[in-house]
Symmetry: C2
Subunit: 468 residues, 2 copies
């Protein structure tokens, strides 16, 4: 499979000239919000199209896309469903490469809407135009700053540039995730809400993102996939280049019935999905929080080369919780060689526990974490990843602990994740640690789950390598 | 079982006169930090005891507790282990009712320490004194403001007064939890880190908190229990009065080995704990986050009378995730009667989904949530609890949605929990909703888990009632 098929989608993310069909001066109209957003942020050019107006925002408004005397790369269509079909046809005839149809009133609204959606499909079959939507929020891209999410910045903050890209069947979910990521200071590269997916679907988008050099991790929310075989083929190819995390809802019988009334998708048996995801190397998230946590570790840390784990903590209790979680995730809290234990014993007070999980107790100090990591992480090849638990309340822990970790991180290609538990000072410490590229989580179990994703992706890469 | 046995512990929480053995003017000494904290906050009186000083903080310092010419209720002992034993004996002989021994160097440090700990036990057997500790952080009580957590306020903020009380075998964990609760704006009533538990243990504390009218929810972190039979007897009694949430770590084989090196506790088979907890009506948390989430819902909402659940959402996708989670937790997203569906249909646009899970879509507005709750929650006896999912990014959702919920809450004795997903504006909305007493969680699955705790506690109460 070459990357050429996915190149046609490029027009959705880096168009030079966009038109907004339905652009308007009337506040609260979707065409108004989208046109206004694009005018103020988009790095290319944007023109208004609306047969009802001569001017929009004081600029010449075209009555039809066909009146525009130059090539148009992308049309955003925000008019009622019936008119949206006509406008799309005009775009197709003019040779516009892509259309994002945000309008609702298609398949999701009953049989008349379903017919309109069939017409859209016919247009894509006859012409070279590709369609995202209908009934979607469209695209947010932090490079070109194309943004068709018709939601004010006050209600929905946009995240900064990052290396994770999101593909979501649910628009509302994409919206909430963007807003949350912005709030958490996490970055995103591209986000697509593809709605009914009458043409461009999750398979196309995953394939496109596979060859998007700026995307390091692909996260996907789906309620069902349109073509299972194609999905698996594309995913198998994608995971050799970057991890794919999927949250597939409708896992249970009642859940899949709820999906049917939500998006009209037939989900099929969850066991089949589970097996298919596993086979093609997709990492499945079982909750939205798992999805967030694992995308964070996968975008910040390298995959692990094995499942041998070192735990370093200054709370014995949290250490035990981490060991429990490791066991449940199939990670091995691996025994250390006598020589390494001896070297640590020489340096530490007798009450520090120098067997893995290493417990530095309430008397822990910043450089004690450093000593352990040098001896048992950098210095021991059978350890594949380190999970740290730092309770910054202890007197010996200072904000400078991040510098200790920074030095270790520079010397290692093995993954490290951390848990910091507490309040205000803890947040400061956590922020410093995240700034050097180590993801921090608020509970022991979440840190372990995020390490599991790194171990799992390491296995997936190895399997793919062995298959070839 | 009467409450009299637990009354003797009252002295740890509401003493009139405290002494700090080891009080000192030297900063960073534990006796200094504790004495200083108590002087500035504790509502009763506090006196310094230290044979090395004539004065501490400019006040007369006693060389021995025996020199104090009036009755002492509680001694905080912060001197090296060997001296701590002598000081405890003096306290016992003077008739002091309680001692909190924060000093380390006992059972956890080897055989010599274990012998010292035996001496402490002998003292409690000969005298009426009770001991919390050794090797613990002691007590934090938001009423009397007794606070023996030797940690500065800068590193460990203290939470405000609330109705949850925490009993923790691990001091570090208690510290992190307090700090985190303060940061989240959550309240606590009493917190006890009992360390080695040479005398007062988790059983005594649970029994005491059962009869503490100000505690509504008891949360417990243990790595093992000292007397299983006694624990179950006390727990069975307690759960008829208030819920008990337990996080028991060392669930796995490796985890239980880690416990052994952490606190020297033999954990025993986890399956036995699981069965015992279930039998006596304890709600078990499987992770620290579950513990937090469930304690939040149990302290803010009444138990559910059954497991029939209503889901109301403005994101179909999040609705599906909730249905999946409900199925997995054994909660029933119950079908609504035709008449109720019809009444909602009359009021709503046709694209709103009026079957449970009710999906108000991106066109949701504040009062639409109110209409659903009136018809399908207040108006339908077979619904036992409501889980709301609010994405405040939608244009129709405003900060006033909290007022809508407030009205519903006033009219109902059934539990409501919510999920709000997003960023800054979402946090504002969530805060308003929490201020009226509805707990809010950041993901659908966590909201469902917190509702499960309310359903489970309802069952526990029913079982207890049927047994009597």
């Amino acid at each position: 499979m070459s990357s050429s098929a996915s190149k046609v989608l490029e027009t959705f993310f880096t168009p030079r000239l966009i038109v907004v069909v339905g652009a308007s001066d009337t506040p609260n109209k979707i065409g108004h919000i989208i046109y206004k957003n694009l005018r103020s942020k988009f790095r290319g050019r944007v023109l208004p199209v609306n047969p009802k107006h001569e001017e929009v925002f004081g600029e010449k408004c075209y009555h039809s896309v066909k009146d525009i005397p130059e090539p148009v790369d992308l049309a955003i269509i925000a008019v009622p469903a019936r008119i949206a079909v006509l406008a799309t046809r005009e775009c197709a005839e003019k040779g516009v490469r892509g259309a994002i149809i945000v309008s609702a009133g298609f398949k999701e609204s009953g049989s008349f809407g379903a017919k309109l959606e069939e017409e859209l499909k016919e247009i894509t079959e006859k012409h070279s135009i590709r369609i995202i939507g209908p009934n979607c929020l469209g695209v947010y891209d932090t490079s070109s700053l194309i943004d068709t999410f018709f939601c004010s910045e006050e209600k929905l903050r946009r995240p900064k540039m990052g290396s994770v890209s999101l593909v979501s069947q649910s628009g509302a979910l994409a919206m909430a995730v963007l807003d949350w990521m912005a709030y958490q200071g996490l970055g995103i590269r591209k986000c697509v809400s593809y709605g009914n997916g009458c043409d461009v679907n999750e398979v196309d988008l995953i394939q496109y993102l596979t060859y998007d050099a700026t995307t390091k991790v692909i996260i996907v929310y789906v309620e069902g996939v349109s073509d299972g075989r194609e999905f698996m083929k594309i995913a198998e190819e994608a995971v050799t280049k970057k991890p794919i995390l999927v949250l597939k809802s409708g896992r249970t019988e009642k859940g899949s019935r709820a999906v049917l009334s939500h998006t009209g998708t037939l989900t099929g048996s969850d066991r089949i999905y589970e097996a298919a995801f596993k086979q093609c190397g997709i990492i499945r998230a079982n909750s939205l929080q798992d999805l967030f946590d694992m995308s964070k570790s996968l975008s910040m840390q390298p995959p692990a080369q094995g499942h041998g784990i070192l735990i370093v903590t200054n709370s014995g209790g949290a250490g035990v919780m981490m060991v429990d979680a490791c066991e449940e995730y199939g990670l091995e809290v691996r025994q250390l060689p006598r020589t390494i234990i001896r070297r640590m014993k020489e340096e530490f007070p007798t009450h520090f526990i120098t067997e893995n999980p290493i417990d530095l107790t309430g008397d822990a100090y910043d450089t004690a974490f450093g000593t352990v990591l040098k001896e048992a992480f950098l210095g021991y090849k059978d350890i594949d990843g380190a999970i740290l638990c730092i309770l910054p309340q202890d007197p010996g822990i200072t904000i400078k602990i991040a510098d200790v970790f920074s030095e270790i991180k520079r010397k290692s290609e093995k993954p490290i994740v951390a848990c910091c538990m507490g309040g205000e000072f803890t947040e400061e410490v956590a922020e410093r640690i995240e700034n050097i590229g180590i993801p921090v989580f608020p509970t022991p179990e979440r840190a372990v789950n995020s390490m599991w994703a790194l171990v799992r992706y390491g296995e997936i890469l190895k399997d793919a390598h062995n298959d070839n």
